[in-house]
Symmetry: C2
Subunit: 364 residues, 2 copies
Amino acid sequence: MDPRIREHAALIAETCVELSAGDTLLIDAAPAADDLVVALMELAGDVGAHPFVVRDRMGKRFRRAYLRNHESVIEEPRHIRALYDELDVFVAIRSEANTATLADVDPATNAAYDRSIEDIRDVRLATRWCLTQYPSDAYAQLAGMSTAAYENFVWDAINRDWAEQAAFQSQLVERLEAADEVRLRSGDRTDLRLSVDGMIVLNDTASHNLPGGEVFTAPVVDSVEGEVCFDVPAMIDGVEVADISLRFEGGRVVEHDAPKHRELVTELLDTDDGARRLGELGIGMNRAIDRFTKNMLFDEKMGDTVHLALGMAYDDTVPEGRERNRSAKHEDLIVDMHEDSSIELDGEVVQRNGRFAFEDGFEG
Amino acid sequence: MDPRIREHAALIAETCVELSAGDTLLIDAAPAADDLVVALMELAGDVGAHPFVVRDRMGKRFRRAYLRNHESVIEEPRHIRALYDELDVFVAIRSEANTATLADVDPATNAAYDRSIEDIRDVRLATRWCLTQYPSDAYAQLAGMSTAAYENFVWDAINRDWAEQAAFQSQLVERLEAADEVRLRSGDRTDLRLSVDGMIVLNDTASHNLPGGEVFTAPVVDSVEGEVCFDVPAMIDGVEVADISLRFEGGRVVEHDAPKHRELVTELLDTDDGARRLGELGIGMNRAIDRFTKNMLFDEKMGDTVHLALGMAYDDTVPEGRERNRSAKHEDLIVDMHEDSSIELDGEVVQRNGRFAFEDGFEG
């Protein structure tokens, strides 16, 4: 077994979910990730936890077969609910054999299924949980990389010194916490202002997502003004959409475009009122992620990028008493900040062309 | 997908477990059986059942990793128990990638694990359950067959007209139900008498095991007298043991031998008092099973064989008020009845050289 697999497993067990004696543990993974599951089982044995391996969210070929043959209303599966009700720790490992497996499932049936397990999702999110990636063939292909090169990419991004990374990121957290207005500029098509006044800034290192590597918060709902062009392609409902541009007034998208897929963006914005507003401002700081791989688990943490999410704001980024944007959607969209770009906080440049003010080589 | 896989799935769902709307369903399988799982998911969708796919008993590589790293007492995993408590239907599909995976797990640790899930096993056996086989590479290798030939073997044995087979077997059931003494003769080393007076005779077709194909009951505990030589090799604790011979007096084994593994048989007999007595008399009647494959799920149903189990008698073969043999063991051992052999019931020959009295070609 590649020693990086046991390193990955140790990071999950010890840092992300703090696996302990007596913990009930569910591992959801596809067969491509078997080696990582074995490494987790060894650690579960070491600490005396109770592991159970399933192919649920990571068994999409099974789900496809089920949903394409299902016509009636789908109810919550009570045996799965009972399992989750007794769960302490949940580890999901992306490792599908074909990332397009659900492409021919009727979206309405898929949505009905998602609704049937909505309470189970909430129970799951109340456990100590972690979502991570195995460098499988299918995800390597999605990234346009050989599997060997993709293995290096994934483990370099995950098996890091997270204490050091946390310290690096905390320098930005401090500045964002103190700030009111954020201004993003990139090229001649992005100049956006928004307020983060009083919002909670989170330092994502190695907790619920592995890799971690972003600093994020929620914009004040009505504060967003200006234009932004997302020059990193997004995957919307399985379709690659390049160069989405949006214009905001009073927090709402009032104009939008995308050279090849304008209608897809229109549909997204028309989902509900919250889908026209921003729910997240995130700044990617994991520089081991040095390329886009069409996988948001990595893309949004890429060093020196900014992502903005249309739709739902996370509970833990909005203080009590403040308005939290609600929506069925949470669509992350990315701007590359490496060239001709800056992030300003209250008029002061905190990043220019991919260098932070607290780093060597910064040119204010 | 090979059409025989969907035929197999339909047999499981419709005949063995009678899958219905609203049923909670657990499928335990290794990745080699993915196609059969997909076919079962389609049927679960059709009827509106709630499927969930796990790798538990069929995830032995995971179990090995867990148990080899576990040192303390193992307790019942409460999340798995909660799942089973809400379970209507259980389908297990043998499909391991290596049938020797647990060969280097400490037997005491393995036994401790089995004890921790003993109550879960009882809950599972109270569901509508089915154990079946997928023709995977590993089981083909165990049988000394190519995988293509083994596929034919497995599906020929499973995808049968089970109503016709049930009618064929019921002819023997009627005769056994009416009989008191059974006498088995084969070659010059097997001549055994035992009573089945008042015991319950079961007609196994397509229910808990797939393939089915045996008629079985429990011998009266103290009634077994004489000698038997099991000329079909048995797998005892993973070791192939040929030509085990036993001599019974008053129902107990008083002499035993095996040319190469006498000690293994001694250990087996010394497990507990019940391990020296017989718990089952079974007669294999599935003639699509025409060879031994070192897999008891098939071997014991092979046409024109008899198996005797040392140890535990099944609950449902012993009427209330009669003594039931108890033991931690239930070790099936097989005699080939094709040549120079006969089964007599109360002095009347019911099978000679692999032909039954109710068939053409029988020579009384």
